[in-house]
Symmetry: C2
Subunit: 180 residues, 2 copies
Amino acid sequence: MGKKALMPLANGFEEIEAVTIIDILRRAGVEVEIAGLGRYEVLGAHGVAIGAETTIEDAESDNFDLIVLAGGHENAMSLAGDAATLRTLRKMRDDGKLIGAVCAAPIVLAQAGVISGDFTCYDGYEGGIEGAYKRERVVESGNVITARGPGTAADFAFALVTRLIGAEMTAQIKRAMYFD
Amino acid sequence: MGKKALMPLANGFEEIEAVTIIDILRRAGVEVEIAGLGRYEVLGAHGVAIGAETTIEDAESDNFDLIVLAGGHENAMSLAGDAATLRTLRKMRDDGKLIGAVCAAPIVLAQAGVISGDFTCYDGYEGGIEGAYKRERVVESGNVITARGPGTAADFAFALVTRLIGAEMTAQIKRAMYFD
């Protein structure tokens, strides 16, 4: 059966991170739902407007194999204050599902209380996050995968694909996209 | 005075390429106009819908320092058949302005007749393009810069920033995004 991923997205998201994750997951055959915070169009930190297929509230009752958060300061702050996002993160943690966050978004995981082991994030956000901060491109700790920023978004997406689908699919997509 | 860039965009564009170029150029202070082919919302090859600020027809009369094309097969085919895009490319060439294309999009430059020296593109598109094909990540030949695909989009964008703004700005943005 196919894998499903949810990406909650609010205004101020980092565009390269969001789109790199969505594009690579979809190339791997993962069904990705872009869920806007209360709206069907969200505006990125650098002025790129992206359409959402659903809202976070409507997506909450659905089942996903992965919840993944892009960064961008305003996006992360909004998601950290959104009850449906926090409930979904806790439900995914309790169900043993995969959770990912990049850049500023690990603070949303901290707000939901779903992060405790090793993690990374954009420099400066580590202060408010429990666990052991690692200054690495991508950090895997149990079912929680974190990454540093736009320049590590592809590595992060490939780590998610490897966990959801397998290493062979990752190698194949990397080659086709000239990421190898 | 600030620099201005035009990105004509049609349905089927490669999302990582388009958004990586726009994001990095805007971080460098370049004003980027996303110009849809006859519409204000364009749908990427992997289902991501992006808002356009203008249409190619409306942007044609404006002045730009750079015209840059993302890839995606359908996007490139549509732009290669669009008279306004081809006219704008020729005008930019005649004015000695910077021209960039990645992935499948060098075939649009070939259709406009603005490519003649060394170039690169996504494997398989080189057949219909005059000039000397180089299997390299990014190729600069006079005012024409080409690149291979999604995995080389950031390198391509940084080459454009270096030409438009300077190497110091490129180094600064690379560092802030963890691309170094």
